[in-house]
Amino acid sequence: MISASQALADFTQEQWQHYVSQFVPIENSLIEWAVDPNKVTQNRDRAMTGFNQQFDIAQQGLERRQRSYGITLNADEQRASDRNADLQRSLGEVQVANTSRDLTIDRQRGIMGAAPAMPQG
């Protein structure tokens, strides 16, 4: 029969191993997210790509609506429409890029700021 001290030591060891196998990978994911120097660019690119996809879908919807009304824009109307669409697209792209960058940096700093203190012996 093992002693209580040994049983507690075994228990502690098992608990620590469980922490290492179960939670350390999670902590590593978080650390990786926080320190990845490409994360801001990746998220900004994702935001701009996503934004443009949605904008394109809306433009395709417009074409369907125009067809349903039998509308064909003349050259002036087309230019005016394109100009407005380009402006809205550019403004939106800048907005999502800035927002994505700011939020990503905030999250990275938040993770770094919430890093646990050095364990006490």
Partner: protein, 212 residues
């Protein structure tokens, strides 16, 4: 801490502490560990670029926006026509294109906010799991402290036993040496004194009262 046949026995409290710790771990493994593992898997997969949660969030964001703008477009078209602005007029056509650009921008922003919401949920989920893990590592450290405490108490007890054994031996040795010296002292002192005043005379080099 009791002593029996020269050994330190763990107290019933210490044995109970170890037993409860063992049972708690077994219970955790049976009931909570699978749930925690599942949660960790869900959170980890949520963060991926094409995760189900992202598709769900961005898809819902897009469809909600489409629905809101769809109704607004119908109303705007109807309102224009009621005011005599027909499909043949530039005002009607450009009104439609302007609204489509607004819708495109809104869709893009709302869908991106869906992505951001998933990023938040992903990071928040990881942080919550990390907090659980931190608690566990702290518990492990506390466990180390507890087992070290029991171990140190055990060692302390052993040391006390050893010390009392040794002290008993020293006492016996002291008594023996002391007795012998008391018997021998007059002769020793006499011998030293006979060596001259350089030794200070009449010193007792062995003190029976101090067996060490």
């Amino acid at each position: 801490m009791n002593s029996k046949k020269g050994q330190i026995e763990e107290s019933p409290q210490e044995r109970a502490l170890a037993q409860v710790a063992h049972e708690r771990l077994a219970d955790y493994k049976t009931r909570w560990q699978p749930l925690q593992q599942r949660t960790a898997e869900v959170v980890q997969s949520m963060g991926k670029a094409d995760s189900w949660e992202r598709r769900q969030a961005t898809g819902k964001a897009a469809s909600d926006t489409e629905q809101a703008f769809g109704a607004a477009e119908e109303k705007a078209d109807a309102a224009d026509m009621n005011q005599g602005i027909g499909a043949g007029s530039s005002a009607f056509r450009l009104g439609q294109t302007d609204m489509a650009a607004d819708k495109g921008r809104a869709r893009g922003l709302v869908v991106e906010s869906g992505e951001q919401a998933i990023d938040d949920a992903y990071i928040g989920g990881l942080q919550q799991l990390m907090a659980i893990g931190r608690g566990q590592s702290t518990q492990a450290a506390r466990g180390l402290g507890a087992s070290a405490l029991i171990g140190s108490r055990h060692a302390e007890g052993e040391a006390q036993l050893a010390a009392s054994r040794r002290s008993g031996q020293r006492h016996t040795a002291g008594v023996l040496v002391g007795g012998a010296m008391r018997t021998a002292a007059p002769y020793v002192n006499q011998g030293i004194n006979s060596m001259g005043s350089g030794f200070g005379g009449n010193h007792q080099y062995f003190d029976a009262a101090d067996p060490g």
